[in-house]
């Protein structure tokens, strides 16, 4: 009870966040797949070095929204985006934006682990090689620190040159995270990173997420409300493409402002 009041008092106003504390500034974002509108004028500010969770029933547009932050939606034919997404005070939907550079600054991890069928090492240095880094020592150092940061180093340090496909599912997912943070991105997007994993691997990844926010801004999509409550600082609830409520995680789960949020978190649908 005391705890609740404490957090309530220190609750930050997410709309009034100072510009230098904002990692992603979404302004009036509307997205269409062909004729179908998937996101309805969404505006939100995602703070730096914190974990922001996106929750909502499946099909509500969580993946679509998170994919707007590194423009993965560009690959879908018939996808149209209006409004703007600002990262570092630049609109990433500006026509002069270099999408490849953007994606190396905004890493993304998908629902199912998708390591390349090459060695553990080659997976981690893939993005570095794309950037033209070929010096062995640089690659080795970056690979090691990425694997350490992804809490995977101790498990794979003796099998760096074995196929990544020999790792377990949880290890593969951490490898994919390592591969993204090897590029030292500003933001890490995680789209249901644990939904294909067992509980123990899930726990490891959640602990990892906690340590990641020191260095990175993390946006995580999850359909698991306990997970959102455990790992995130603020939570956005999406419903049918609309941002229904976005506030401090404690607040959202204990004192939701909106009727729909309450119905969702109390399990009346979803």
């Amino acid at each position: 009870m005391l705890d609740f009041f404490a957090s309530s008092r220190t609750e930050k106003n997410l709309d009034a966040l100072a510009a230098d504390k904002v990692a992603i500034n979404v302004k009036d974002l509307t997205l269409h797949f062909g004729e179908k509108r998937a996101l309805h004028s969404i505006s939100m500010k995602i703070p730096k070095n914190q974990v922001t969770a996106l929750i909502g029933p499946s099909g509500c547009g969580k993946s679509t929204l998170i994919s707007c932050f590194n423009r993965m939606n560009d690959l879908i034919p018939g996808c149209r985006v209006d409004g703007s997404v600002e990262i570092g005070e630049r609109d990433i939907y500006h026509r002069k934006e270099n999408v490849s550079v953007l994606r190396s600054r905004v890493g993304m991890v998908f629902q199912k682990p998708n390591p390349f069928p090459t060695s553990v090492y080659e997976n981690v240095v893939y993005g570095l090689r794309i950037q033209g880094i070929s010096e062995r020592r640089v690659l080795d150092n970056k690979a090691e620190s990425a694997l350490r940061n992804a809490a995977l180093w101790d498990e794979v340090k003796d099998r760096l040159f074995e196929s990544a496909l020999t790792l377990s599912g949880g290890q593969q997912q951490r490898l994919v995270i390592a591969r993204a943070i090897a590029l030292e991105p500003e933001i890490l997007l995680l789209d249901e990173p644990t939904s294909a994993l067992d509980p123990i691997s899930t726990l490891t990844i959640e602990e990892l997420i906690n340590t990641l926010k020191d260095k990175y801004t993390v946006v995580i999509v999850t359909h698991n409300m306990q997970q959102a409550a455990r790992v995130s600082d603020q939570t956005a609830f999406l419903y049918e493409g609309k941002l229904i409520e976005y506030s401090d995680t404690n607040r959202l789960f204990t004192m939701p402002r909106e009727q729909q949020t309450e119905e969702y978190i109390t399990g009346r649908y979803g």
Binding site: M72, P77, R103, S104, G107, N114, F116, Y126, I130, L165
Partner: protein
């Protein structure tokens, strides 16, 4: 009700029998195909025993040494016709004898002292060696091997003198200024005369080595040892001896040029031509096919137009190959080739350079013919690369081209390999279009040699498939009753089967790799 069940069961077992017999017929067809090619093909290399054949021809009794080529019986006649090959002493080669009345010929014996003599010209002679003569002295038959070695050494020496010493002296003589260096000129002329003299002496000595042989009627002939390549007492051979003989024949077959219009020698130029043509074809078709497939699968919008293109490419695989031949001849050779000649080889016209069938056009035609194979297999390989990997690559900042180069192509490479191997198998086995665009029965030169520019794209070439095709029209038979056609056919079959097995293995590996990817 019960009756109906029985009827059903009857018709059920009837249809099972229908399927089973169709299956059996196919198996028999395939087995007999392989059997005939295998037996006839290997028969080409296996030594046939030499018979002393006696036959009544009117009053006189005819005798000859012969090798049984074939036995055939005709339904309207009761007797068996036997075909032998025997020595034609007038031209030192084989001719065929048919003996169709079994009663006329007596069952022959197999004399152990008769040998199959293979001459350097490629001809073969069946005769009984009697004695040897070297330097006008008779030698025992036991020195046969040793004398053959001696003769070969002498022959090499003569060839060395003619090809190296005399040739080099000749060129030196041409550059010497007679007025300026009179002594040197004289010296060279002396050396030249000496070499010539030496060569002539050796040649004379060579022709004094003789083998005396006897035919079945006791007539005696002399054969210069210099003309003899080897001798085989095939009737004395054990199983191992026959096996060694066969191995030698196989080696000869793949390493020598055809002799006596394919009656003997080997098919080396045809194998060589096939390999070169297929290589050049692969160089054309591989990049083109891969690029087309990547464009279709990775870049092009998936709409009706791409579907149409895909269907057309698939249908190209079904176009009769002769159509490609006709296209190659009329477009590549007569249009493009003539154009090239007009632009670049004007000085040699009207003799065509590229305006005639040749290696380049044949390879290009075959590349067109095999393009669908490569495209289809490559697309199949691309389809097996999961989209999640493409996404993973994009999410790490790779462009589409980098993603294709670094992830998609390596993962699709087993599929690409399969396509290339299937294309090679197709290219090696095709005949009809090749005859129109450059493959010939006999080409005097190889498409690659040590003459500038080393690879001669405009030359005509020999091809295994064409050799097989041509073999069907020649009557010349080897000792075993199987002509070269079957042996060449066996080789072709082996090559193609081998390539298909490799393709199969590669495809299997791809599948396993892909499954490992899906497991987790």
């Amino acid at each position: 009700m019960f009756r109906l069940t029985i009827n059903q069961r009857q018709s059920e077992s009837l249809s099972v029998m229908l399927f089973a017999s169709a299956m059996a017929i196919s198996i028999i067809a395939i087995a007999s195909l392989l059997g005939v090619i295998l037996v006839k093909g290997t028969g080409h290399f296996w030594p046939t025993k030499i018979q002393l054949v006696e036959m009544n021809a009117g009053q006189e009794v005819k005798k000859f040494y012969g090798q049984l080529v074939s036995e055939s019986s005709y339904s309207d006649r009761s007797e068996i016709t036997k075909q032998y090959r025997m020595t034609d002493w007038d031209r030192l080669g084989f001719s065929s004898v048919y003996i169709d009345d079994a009663s006329n010929s007596m069952e022959g014996s197999y004399p152990v002292d008769v040998a199959l003599l293979t001459l350097r010209s490629g001809s073969q002679v069946l005769a009984k060696p009697v004695s040897l003569i070297s330097e006008h002295k008779a030698q025992p038959l036991s020195s046969f091997d040793q004398l053959l070695v001696e003769v070969a050494a002498n022959r090499n020496q003569v060839e060395f003198i003619l090809n190296n010493q005399i040739a080099s002296l000749n060129s030196q003589l041409q550059t010497v200024d007679i007025a300026q260096e009179e002594t040197r000129h004289q010296q060279l002329i002396d050396e030249y005369d000496q070499a010539r003299h030496k060569a002539n002496e050796l040649k004379a000595a060579l022709s004094s080595y003789l083998l005396i042989v006897e035919d079945a009627l006791g007539t005696v002939y002399e054969l210069p040892l210099n003309d003899i390549e080897r001798y085989d007492y095939v009737n004395q051979y054990s199983l191992w001896g026959k096996f060694k003989y066969s191995l030698r024949s196989v080696w000869q077959f793949i390493s020598e040029s055809p002799k006596q219009l394919y009656a003997s020698g080997g098919v080396f130029p045809a194998i060589f031509g096939t390999v070169v043509m297929v290589l050049v074809m692969t160089i054309f078709v591989t990049p083109l096919g891969i690029l087309v497939a990547i464009y279709l699968h990775e870049y092009a919008a998936q709409n009706r137009l791409t579907t149409l293109v895909r269907i057309s490419i698939n249908n190209m695989a079904g176009v009769p190959s002769i159509v490609y031949g006709v296209f190659g001849l009329s477009f590549f050779v007569y249009e493009l080739g003539a154009g090239i000649d007009n632009w670049f080889f004007k000085e040699t016209l009207p003799a065509p350079t590229f305006g005639a069938p040749g290696l380049f056009w044949a390879s290009l035609t075959m590349a067109m013919l095999t393009l669908p194979v490569v495209v289809v297999a490559t697309e199949e390989g691309l389809r097996r690369v999961p989209d999640s990997l493409r996404m993973g690559s994009y999410a790490l900042g790779a462009t589409q081209f980098e993603t294709i180069r670094k992830t998609v192509i390596p993962m699709a490479s087993p599929g690409i390999m399969t396509g290339i191997i299937l294309a090679i198998a197709r290219g090696a086995g095709e005949v009809a279009p090749l005859i129109l665009v450059g493959a010939v029965k006999f080409a005097p030169t190889l498409p690659i040699d040590n003459e500038y520019p080393y690879i001669h794209f405009e030359r005509q070439f020999m091809h295994l498939g064409v050799t097989v095709f041509d073999g069907a029209f020649q009557g010349q038979l080897a000792g075993s009753g199987s002509n070269m056609m079957f042996a060449a056919c066996l080789f072709l079959l082996l090559i193609v089967v081998l390539l298909n097995i490799v393709a199969q293995v590669v495809r299997q590996r791809l599948r396993r790799q892909y499954n490992a990817l899906l497991e987790h």
